[in-house]
Symmetry: C2
Subunit: 140 residues, 2 copies
């Protein structure tokens, strides 16, 4: 099989290209693409457990834990023990994270327009739908 | 913007899912998905410079160098100084890598069938074409 037809190679190459671009755009704000994912969840829901964040981002608990720790060290979020259930941690955004929302959403919007520019509206929808199917597929 | 519409999130989630599956399938042979990429190049061309491998795989020189070093340590390839140009390194497959070709290509073929199963032939071609466009796009 030619590498150019291998779905893992195609996904890795496309993801790498887009990730590198977004990473360079977000660097100005000291934020990584994965950290943007967490910020997006916190802008929307304000208050989440690490487990809920992992489910929203399709990430393993160990990955989430590392991302949250670095974000806390950068003043992007707080992790507090839930007063109603002391075995649960609750994650909430800092004022810094709330203030960054307009600037970062502008970068995300521009990235999406730039990456999707070569495609018609219908093709764009099909690409998003196909990637969602592949991302949610149980592969065993 | 909803995370579910963000092309970086969609690509990362789909790539992560397929990569994890392929990684687990290749682990039996002590090979990673990136190493399979290099093996694929060596099965096809037999003899390449690290720069050529980087171009074929869309990888930075520093990434290629790390992958080649681990593969050499695992007996998957040889790196030799080009006798005609002593500043050039040439990479070639070991017998072990040549022997692994049928088993690994079977895994790759099965992975592609499994991931692409939900789509029609026409949709599959469009997904491959779209990912190629996104991977080759100069984003600045």
């Amino acid at each position: 099989m030619e590498l150019e037809n291998c779905i893992n190679f195609l996904l890795s190459t496309a993801q790498h290209n887009v990730f590198q671009y977004l990473n360079s755009q977000l660097a100005e704000y000291g934020v990584t693409p994965a950290q943007y994912g967490v910020m997006n969840c916190l802008w929307k829901y304000r208050d989440l457990t690490p487990k809920q964040i992992g489910e929203l981002l399709h990430l393993e608990a160990s990955s989430v834990s590392g991302i949250l720790e670095r974000m806390q060290n950068n003043g992007l979020l707080e992790r507090n023990v839930d007063p109603e259930n002391r075995r649960t941690i609750r994650v909430s955004p800092t004022q810094k994270t709330l203030d960054l929302q307009p600037a970062i959403e502008k970068i995300i919007l521009h990235m999406n327009q730039l990456v999707m520019e070569p495609f018609t509206q219908q093709e764009q929808e099909q690409i998003r739908r196909s990637l969602t199917v592949i991302g949610n597929r149980e592969l065993v």
